[in-house]
Amino acid sequence: MNSWIPFFPEQASTFAWQVDGLYFYLVAITVFFTVLVVGAIVWFFIRYREREKYIHPSEIEGSTVLEVTWSIIPFIIVMTIFVGGGVIYYNLYRMPSEAMEIYVVGKQWMWKFQHPTGQREINELHIPVGTKVKLTMTTEDVLHDLSFPAFRTKSDVVPGRYTALWFEATKPGKYRIYCAEYCGMNHSGMGGWVYVMEQRDFDNWLSGNVSGQTPAEAGKDLFENKLACASCHAADGSGGRGPALVGLFGKPVRLAGGQTVNADEAYIRESILNPQGQIVEGYQPIMPTFKGQVTEDQLVSLIAYIKSIAGQTGAPNKLNTTPATAPQPDASRNFDTDGKAVEPMGGRSNP
């Protein structure tokens, strides 16, 4: 679309028609009520203009029937909008069970993407058309917001948390991405392009890019070597002095004190950075904090690794997790690291 004045953004995801449908429904409501009310006002202004100054026209003081009518009708209309908006919101933020998972780390003022196959990109994201893509995002510094107008979705990226969004692109092309949450000086420069490609082109692109370790491989490396997590959690994550991590992700965990939490990204992150905060029932608070020791990128890798062993059935955990049932999609991936010592991913391997 290269019209002189653009009026409408490209529709390039499965969400686009939903969001646009609701949009046009609302535009129609807006136009209808504006024409109705403004029309009435203008008509009254002309019809009942002052014929003579300072006279007292006939009084109409009110009508409960009318009041009730024009309370209930708007209420019904806004409820339709509420339901429509709610359904779309649910679709936008309810993550699909199977998707190509891309990790995103925002920092002032760039977006760092990493593909499941290990390729890294900055301010550019290549994805295949017709595939569900899930972005798991965090930031190294302040709030950001990754916005894809052509896909009609965005999400805030919050320091210390993982947020996620997903989409399925429907049309190959090149679309803008923005940072939509103010993040300091070069906020308006923190944008780039998403390239939606046919699967064949995407595969070509992937093979043309040297892939380092995948996030899960890098996580495994950190786990076993760099950070020596394995000394307590065992090399295969089956547990020891520390709780078992195999089959952990996505399951409820009972904490000392009786609370139960879900082992999601935030839990794992918190357990690494602030181990004393959430002690798993039956274990001692012996884990040191890794705060200041790991970068956001490394955390993302560790989480990817723990996710990757979520579907394996390892040594039975004592009390804390329910047995893993169905294998997670990530589990099918193959990680043979050959034991080679590879430079762990981290801030310094990035420009």
């Binding site: 009026f7 009520f33 100054k53 300072y54 006939s58 009084e59 965005k154 210390g160 948390r161 308006s188």
Partner: protein, 559 residues
């Protein structure tokens, strides 16, 4: 030709003694306890801030003429839009109608000699000035670049600007708001003249009552939040910084717990002004008085329950979002009730086209669009696409400028003859009202389209395909600026050279029109006894003779 008519007019005279000439020393102004003089002090200081905020707005639109950040570097542009927001929100929009028009009129409208606590009223103004001084210091010393929302952790840890001074300024200024609201609440509760029952109160008073509730309940929360933020910056420890285990989202919750109700602090007084204008210039009772009155209270109450709709995209739970979205939709209903009642009031009225009514007409059109586009943002799924884009900017400017500023201007034109005893040029006031309307639409309508295209807020540079719409917007802004500068000129002129307005230039029944223009220091020579309903134009109002008298006065003009 109008000027000739004035020469022949010797019946409308300025009263010999009134609040304006009761003492002319500087001390008589700066130490006054008269609510009317304090209102004038606010008028001057708020106008100064409005001018400053307007200058920043012009700079923003100038920069956005081109896609690159060429007029200003990004770091300067960030300061400019932050300053624009802080000044307009905290030092113009919030105090404008309550502290100027409300201060002046509420005691008169209910037949009281003053507000309940005149000294506290003066104190509020001084607090406003001190808070403003702190903030101005922050802006001049080097500025603030966090946006008016002060989101953490950028504001606590990363921004290298004068966040603390500005925060303390806003903190101090908050108490001005709180004390003004407190004063209004107590005054309406206890100072009503004999016979002035709750349901005889003008709707202006009702809407200020609702506003004051929000001020008293909401402002302390932002005060403590901003204070914690400033302390967190100072002590490098606190509850918002995720690096210390704090939660930046908590800040957003606390911030919007006030700042969303604050939107109603800005617009509710505007509703009050419009209710007055519509009823009085149709010369009949408002349609559905009780519904209009209680819808203000409903908006004030529900306003406290919808803050989470600012955070649909922040990763909050789907279910929390659903609740906030539902309540946001519900709050649309009382607003709709108001608009329908105003429209119905016009039906079979005797509508005059005086300047204030022109503003009321424009207000209704613009507020309607502003309100309906609010539904776009309350619908969660759609909000994800629209949040943090120019759609939001356009929406809240339609409500804040198209709503509150037009209501403020309408009110100022309506009560100007009461405040100063003189009338402004009808010709120029109508021209400028139309310029404002046209300029406003041209400025902000294109921003809806820009927003749907995805242009994010607070961008110093934007994609070049969006330039044309931005040029429209900037062109509109320059027209709008003219429309806003004109009133400053002709109103100032009218202050000294306008024709004498007379006590009741529009022949209206409200209590404020039953005292002299300008009113005496004690408002009424004797405490009035109220025996009529609000907007009572019938025979018992005694307006017939006054109408006849004015007709005779104006007769030569009509030929």
């Amino acid at each position: 030709m109008r000027e000739e008519a004035i020469v022949n007019r010797d019946i409308d005279l300025m009263p010999r003694k009134h609040y304006l000439n009761n003492g002319s020393t500087v001390a008589s102004w700066l130490l006054t306890k008269d609510h009317k003089r304090i209102a004038i002090l606010y008028l001057i200081s708020v106008s100064a801030f409005f001018l400053l905020g307007g200058i920043y707005a012009s700079l923003i639109r100038l920069e956005l003429l081109t896609p690159q950040s060429d007029l200003m570097e990004a770091h300067l542009y960030n300061r400019v839009f932050t300053h624009h927001g802080i000044i307009m929100v905290f030092f113009f929009l919030i105090p404008a109608i309550p502290a100027i028009l409300g201060n002046f009129l509420i005691p008169i409208m209910i037949g009281a000699k003053d507000l309940a606590f005149p000294r506290i009223n003066l104190l509020s103004w001084y607090i406003y000035i001190v808070g403003g001084a702190f903030t101005l210091y922050a802006l001049l010393a080097g500025g603030v670049d966090t946006g008016w929302t002060f989101y953490t952790p950028y504001s606590t840890t990363f921004s290298n600007t004068y966040v603390m001074a500005a925060g303390i300024g806003i903190f101090i200024n908050g108490f001005s708001s709180i004390l003004t609201g407190l004063n209004f609440l107590v005054t309406v509760h206890t100072m009503r003249a004999p016979g002035m029952t709750w349901f005889r109160l003008p709707l202006f008073v009702w809407s200020h009552y609702a506003t004051s509730l929000v001020m008293v309940l909401g402002t302390p929360v932002i005060a403590i939040t901003i204070l914690l933020l400033a302390l967190e910056r100072f002590g490098r420890v606190g509850i918002f910084d995720p690096a210390l285990g704090g939660d930046p989202i908590l800040f957003q919750h606390l911030f919007w717990f006030y700042s969303h109700p604050a939107v109603y602090i800005m617009i509710l007084p505007g509703f009050g002004v419009i209710s007055e204008l519509i009823a009085n210039f149709s010369r009949k009772k408002i349609f559905g008085y009780a519904f209009v009155a209680f819808s203000s209270i409903a908006i004030a109450v529900f306003g406290f329950l919808v803050w989470g709709h600012h955070m649909f995209a922040s990763g909050q739970s789907i279910y929390a979002g659903l609740v906030f979205s539902f309540l946001t939709m519900v709050i649309a209903v009382p607003s709709a009730i108001k608009v329908f009642n105003w429209t119905a009031t016009l039906y079979q009225g005797s509508i005059s086209y005086d300047t204030p009514m022109l503003y009321a007409l424009f207000f209704m059109g613009l507020f309607l669009i502003g309100g309906l586009t609010g539904l776009f943002l309350g619908a969660m799924g759609l909000d994800i696409h629209l949040t943090d884009t120019y759609f939001v900017v356009a929406h809240f400017h339609y409500v804040m400028v198209g709503g509150q500023v037009l209501a403020y201007l309408g009110g100022l034109h309506y009560w100007f003859p009461k405040m100063f005893g003189r009338m402004y040029s009808e010709f120029w006031s109508k021209i400028s009202a139309m310029i404002v309307f046209i300029g406003f639409n041209l400025t902000f309508f294109p921003q809806f389209i820009l927003g749907y295209l995805g242009m994010p807020r607070r961008y110093a540079a934007y994609p070049e395909e969006m330039q044309v719409l931005n040029i429209f917007s900037s062109a509109g802004a320059s027209i709008l600026a003219i429309g806003l500068v004109l009133p400053a000129i002709y109103l100032t002129y009218a202050l000294f050279f306008g024709k004498i307005a007379g006590d009741n230039p529009w022949v209206l029944p409200g209590l404020e029109w039953r005292t002299s223009s300008p009113p005496p220091t004690e408002n009424f020579v004797r405490t009035p006894i109220v025996t009529w309903e609000a907007y009572e134009f019938g025979e018992e109002s005694g307006l017939y003779e006054e109408g006849e008298r004015r007709r005779r006065l104006e007769a030569p003009e009509r030929v």
